[in-house]
Amino acid sequence: MAATIKDIAAMLKAETLVDHNIDREVGCVIASDLVSDMLVCCDAGAFLITGLANIQVVRAAEMIDLIGVVFVRNKEPATEVIEYAEEMELPLLSTDYTMYEACGLVYDIGLRPGDFSTRED
């Protein structure tokens, strides 16, 4: 059975900051603190684990069609970040776990990485 964002929130004992679309199924997961890295992911519909909590994370999410984001180590995004995510209907979570722990726990419920292979010339 595929996991939903709600399942990830439960697994990571996460606080839900934006609760739109949290019943959506997660196709794959990426983890990075670099927006430049996120933008190379080939899969639409990926879920992001990150320690970066600025407005550009939500912008990047919009561009690459992410379906949700969790901030690790209880990072608190600014109000404007939450407001923009509300507008985009992008679910945002915040967890106490570290990046490494969060990745391990999410891998454990069967979720696999997004595709980062670059397009052939």
Partner: protein, 165 residues
């Protein structure tokens, strides 16, 4: 003047240099402010919103959005400011990003993944990994860059609706 030109195999494009090909309602024009990391991405967002309303595949819309966003971030990170214009034609979208920045002395080097001249501030925002221009190339069908040191850089790309992944 430094120039770079690349196109995907099998793509034919004639760029007459004019930008007036889009029908009414099928273009987006936006000013980008240098150093404004809060507003950065607003132009790419506007382009994506326009394309989403048209009968274009989500994968193609995503490629245009990523390439436009990377180019917009470059303006914010390196230039005093610039303009982004997107034109939708029946079979392609053309995006022109012209900035008033320091220019790129060696474009071939800037195309190498990992090469970056970004400041610490830019890196703190999650950018400056040296993947911007290579990732633009990865998502487009035609890429043209012209740059003059001390004056600025113009990036032009095309994405065709029936080509690419």
């Amino acid at each position: 003047m430094n120039e770079y030109f690349w196109k995907k195999d099998g793509i034919e494009v004639e760029d007459d240099g004019s930008n007036g090909t889009a029908a009414k309602g099928l273009s987006v024009e936006k000013r980008v402010k240098g150093g404004d990391f809060t507003g950065a991405g607003a132009a790419a967002s506007k382009i994506k919103q326009l394309l989403k309303k048209l009968p274009i595949s989500p994968q193609t819309v995503r490629r245009v959005a990523i390439a436009s966003y990377e180019a917009e971030i470059n303006v914010v990170a390196h230039a005093d400011g610039g303009n982004i214009i997107a034109f939708v034609s029946p079979d392609n979208v053309k995006v022109v990003i012209a900035d008033e920045g320091p220019g790129i002395p060696d474009i071939e080097q800037a195309m190498v993944p990992g090469y970056s001249t970004a400041s610490e501030e830019v890196r703190e925002m999650g950018f400056g990994a040296g993947l911007g221009l290579p990732n633009i190339k990865n998502n487009v069908d035609v890429l043209k860059i012209t740059s003059e040191e001390g004056k600025g850089t113009t990036v032009i790309f095309y994405i065709f609706f029936n080509a690419g992944p």
